[in-house]
Each structure stands twice: as structure tokens, then as C-alpha cells.
Symmetry: C3
Subunit: 215 residues, 3 copies
């Protein structure tokens, strides 16, 4: 019997949901870190490595989401409402998708120069997934509800920050950029990066509605 | 004891859902009115005021959606299916988000000249949120189901009208606008404005599936 | 008594859900076929007919989705979880919407020349809706779960293919297209066509979570 089957035997069935959510939490945070580091990197080679790493992480996330849905089908009893698990899994998957999409856009749109706006977005994305991770890791014990609520509040704060970065960046872009193709590239990339934080906020909102049922 | 706590004491718990939905219904309708009036305004100063007012209303709406989710967590018994309340709250929140996004885009994209297409969209958005309000206000009594169904039908009709305005406007834009940056601005704004009515239709569809359970 | 009422009398109530899903499955597959054929057509007249046919099919689909939601409201007992029916109906409706949107964009954006990328997308959309149809038709009997799982796997495969077509097409576009308005048109159309396969994948994911409950 392999270690995996052994652990499975002695894990109460609904505990599997916490494990997967924690795995996703870590994964999203690592994706954000890799993405941010690449945008602060000077060497192109490291950026290429970033894409390869992110693609692997995004697939790992897809696979985790798939396992969540399979467990949802197999388990009659779940640690919180089935619909909450469904929503949460879906919105966390969206976070990974949009980080991956943003990274790909830099390549697809042939963006050669990373600017301060992109770096600011990557910082705020890292902060948002960091706060989201704290909230997700708190779900297993539910012993410090205030810490979870505070973490969700931070996710909302960072989404708000991303919104302000986007508004300011778009205003600047439409006032100054006279090359329409450059304008399209940057506008799309900025909007995709801001969407990452929207998806973090969606996830935090589901977590808040989960913990309210326990308080 | 404050008036608020007093009212709460004597309100059956599930009535709180109707109150919040009615508050949101009014709020969306006022947002549409403020937005439409600003597009018919000649003076720039009034447009600036419009943005400030809309931002406050959008926040009020966010806060109402938040309260809906909190109540959903606290109340075991809800006036209609939990998942319907969840969907409805989410899609109504999207209506507010897209009105606010459309208003911001006019500023962010530095659009100086309001045209007939934008005004036509703002009219149809006002009509759609007006019909949506009638449907939402009917939920409390459920005594005139036909009036609710008719109001939902009107929301669908206005969404269809917005769709036609968009098709016609895009066709015209791609045939006549030779300045690519102008084309991008208008295309994005038109699509955002049309999305407001899509979100109204999503909300009306949930309302229809709620009332069918009572007929 | 008309044949329709006769059949209805002798059909267990929850069977109606299978019938509507099968109708939608066929409809989406025909839409994809009509769309693909038009993109391989040389004569403009036939393309105009395509739009008329697609509009009628899209309306038929809207009407089927509406019936699904009405049945969901009327029937207390459903063949699978209510929330799964809800999600599935919604995502299948999105498939139809994005096929119709892609077809309309060709007209709205005044795209005169159909290229190999568009044809490749139309092929992969046809394959994806074909596999989706197999999965949907398998739901009634649930006797060959492996066949359903395989079909869902194929939908995911085709979505992946569409993703690769999009990445390659965008990279090529941003490297070679110097006319910004042409670039906007093609970028938007490609993204809409790729979204059709995303919505097919969403539908396949719900089907997988349904059948896992039966295995």
C-alpha cells in the first residue's frame, strides 16, 4: 500500500476538501510570486522560464479543481454547503486562469518593455493572493473567524487598489499613447491583470458567506 | 433602543430579503436616471457631479449585496430558494457594476463628445432598470404574478433593443470611423453599455424562475 | 388530442429534461455546422443565409433554455441535482450565444476575407459541439458512463486546441498586422470564437460532475 492510499484511509472523507483548497491557495500564491518576479527581472531568459513554470502551475490548478468537483460528486456529506464549494472552486480556478492569461498576453501581444503599471499590478496581485491564502487556510479549523474575516477584508482592499491603478493607467494611456496598436496591447493587459484581483474578491466573498454560517 | 433595532425586532426575519432587494431595485433605477441625465446635460460640471453621485450609489449597492449574503448565511429559512437569492444578488450587483463602469469609461477613455448612440443606450438602460424594479417590488406580495411576468418580459424586450442598437452602432463604426483610437473608445463603451442590459436580463430570468415555483 | 399532448401524458415528468437537453445538443451542433459551412463558402449570398439561419437557431435555443428553467420551477423531482441542471442550461446557452456573436461579428466588423485561422476555429467548434452532443445524449440512459466521460475528455481536448490556435493567431497578428483597425477586428473575432469552446468545456465539466454521482 502506497503512502497516499494509507493517508487516504485515515483521513475523514470531508477533510479532503480542506486539503485541496489549501493546495490551491499555495499554488495561486506561488503563481503570483513567479509572475511578479519575472516582471522585475531584467533578463529575457528568466521571463521565458516564468512562462514554462506558470503553465505547469496552471495545469496543476486545473487538476486540483477537477478533483474538487469529483469529490463533490462522490461525497454526500461536505464540510460546508455544496453550492459554496462549487462557487469557491470555480472562482479560484478563474484566479489561476487570469494570472496565466496575463502572463501569456505579454508574450502574445509582443510586449517588450515592462513598465511600472504592470509591476504595480503584479505587486497587488501577490498581496491579494497572499491574503486569500490566509483566509483559505483558516477554513480547516474555523477557530479564528476574525482572522479569516480580516483576510477577506484585505482581499477587498487590494481589489480596490487594483481598480485605482487601472483607472489611473487607462486615463494616462488614452491621453498620451498615440500609437493605436501599443494602446490596444496595454489596455488589454491592464484589464486582464485587474481581473485577477476581481476573481480574488469573488473567492473572498464566498469565504465570507461560508464563515458567517458558523458565527 | 434605536429605531433600527426596534424595527428589526418586529420584522419577520425573512422579510429582510425583500427590503434589501427593494432597496437595490430603487438604487439601480436612480443610478440609471443619474447616468442618463448626465448624458443629456450640456455642462461639463454636471457630468463631474454625475460621477461622484454614481460612485456613492455603486458603493451603496455593494454594501446592500454584502448584507444580502450575510443574511443568507444567518437565516436558515429564506423566502425563496437560497440559490435563487444568491444568483439574483449576484446579477443585480453586476447591473450596478456595469453602469458604474460605463460612466467611468467616458472619463477614462477621455470621451468628450456624447453622441446619439450613447444617449439611446442610456434611455434603454433606464427603461430596463425601471421594468426590473417593478418585477423586484412585486416579489414581496406575490399577489399579481402576471404583473411580475410582464415586467420581466419588458426587461427582455429592452435587452433586445440594446442588442439592436449595438449591432447598428458597431456596423456604422467599423464602416466610417478611420481613427483607430476613437474606434476603440466607442466600441468598448458601447459594449459595456449593452452589457448593463444583459445583466438586467439575467436578473429578470432568475425572478421568472422564482415566481414559476409559486404559480 | 394532439400527438404532443399524448406523448406528454405518458412521459414521466422528469424525462422532459432529457428531451430538452437533447434538443439543445442537436441545435448547437447544427449551429456549428452552418457556421463552419458558411466560412468555407465562396459566395456571399450563402453567408447572408447563414446569418438568417443562425439567428433562428439561436432563438430556438433561447426558447429551449427558457423551457428548462420553467420545468425546473415546476418539478420538485428532477433527474439530477437542480443546481447541476441550472449550471448546465446556463453554459449551453452561452455556447449558442457565442456562436451567434462570432457570426454577427463577421458582419458587424465588416470582415470581408475569411482566413485559415477562422476556418480552423470553425472546425474545432464543430468538433467540440459534436463531442458535447455525444455526452448530452448519454445522460438519458446513464448506461455507458465511460462513453460520456470520453466525450467530455474530447471537449476538453478541443478547447485546448482552440487555445493553441488563439495563441498562435494572436502572436502572428501582433507581429505582422500594421493596420490597427484590422488588428482590432481579427483579435476580437478570434477571442469570441475561442470563447465558444470555453463554454463547451464549462458544459462538459458540469456533465462530468453529474455522472460522477452515478458511478
Amino acid at each position: 500500500m502506497g503512502l497516499n492510499s494509507f493517508v487516504k484511509l485515515f483521513t475523514p472523507k470531508d477533510r479532503v476538501f480542506y486539503s485541496i483548497f489549501e493546495e490551491v491557495a499555495d499554488n495561486l500564491n506561488v503563481m503570483s510570486q513567479v509572475f511578479r518576479d519575472a516582471l522585475y527581472e531584467k533578463e529575457d531568459e528568466k521571463k521565458d522560464n516564468m512562462l514554462i513554470t506558470l503553465e505547469a502551475l496552471e495545469r496543476k490548478n486545473d487538476e486540483a479543481t477537477r478533483r474538487l468537483f469529483l469529490e463533490l460528486g462522490k461525497n454526500f456529506i461536505t464540510p460546508f454547503d455544496r453550492e459554496d464549494i462549487h462557487y469557491l472552486a470555480g472562482s479560484l480556478d478563474d484566479v489561476a486562469d487570469y494570472i496565466w492569461l496575463s502572463a501569456k498576453s505579454i508574450v502574445n501581444y509582443d510586449i517588450n518593455e515592462v513598465n511600472d503599471t504592470m509591476r504595480a499590478f503584479s505587486d497587488v496581485i501577490l498581496s491579494a493572493t497572499g491574503a486569500l491564502r490566509v483566509a483559505l487556510l483558516g477554513l480547516r479549523n474555523m477557530k479564528d473567524l476574525k482572522a479569516i474575516t480580516d483576510a477577506c477584508g484585505k482581499v477587498n482592499y487590494f481589489e480596490n487598489e487594483a481598480d485605482k491603478i487601472l483607472d489611473k493607467a487607462l486615463r494616462h494611456l488614452f491621453l498620451t499613447e498615440k500609437n493605436p496598436i501599443e494602446l490596444i496591447k496595454l489596455k488589454e493587459l491592464y484589464q486582464d491583470m485587474e481581473t485577477v484581483t476581481n476573481k480574488c474578491e469573488d473567492s473572498a466573498n464566498v469565504i465570507e458567506s461560508i464563515i458567517i454560517k458558523y458565527s
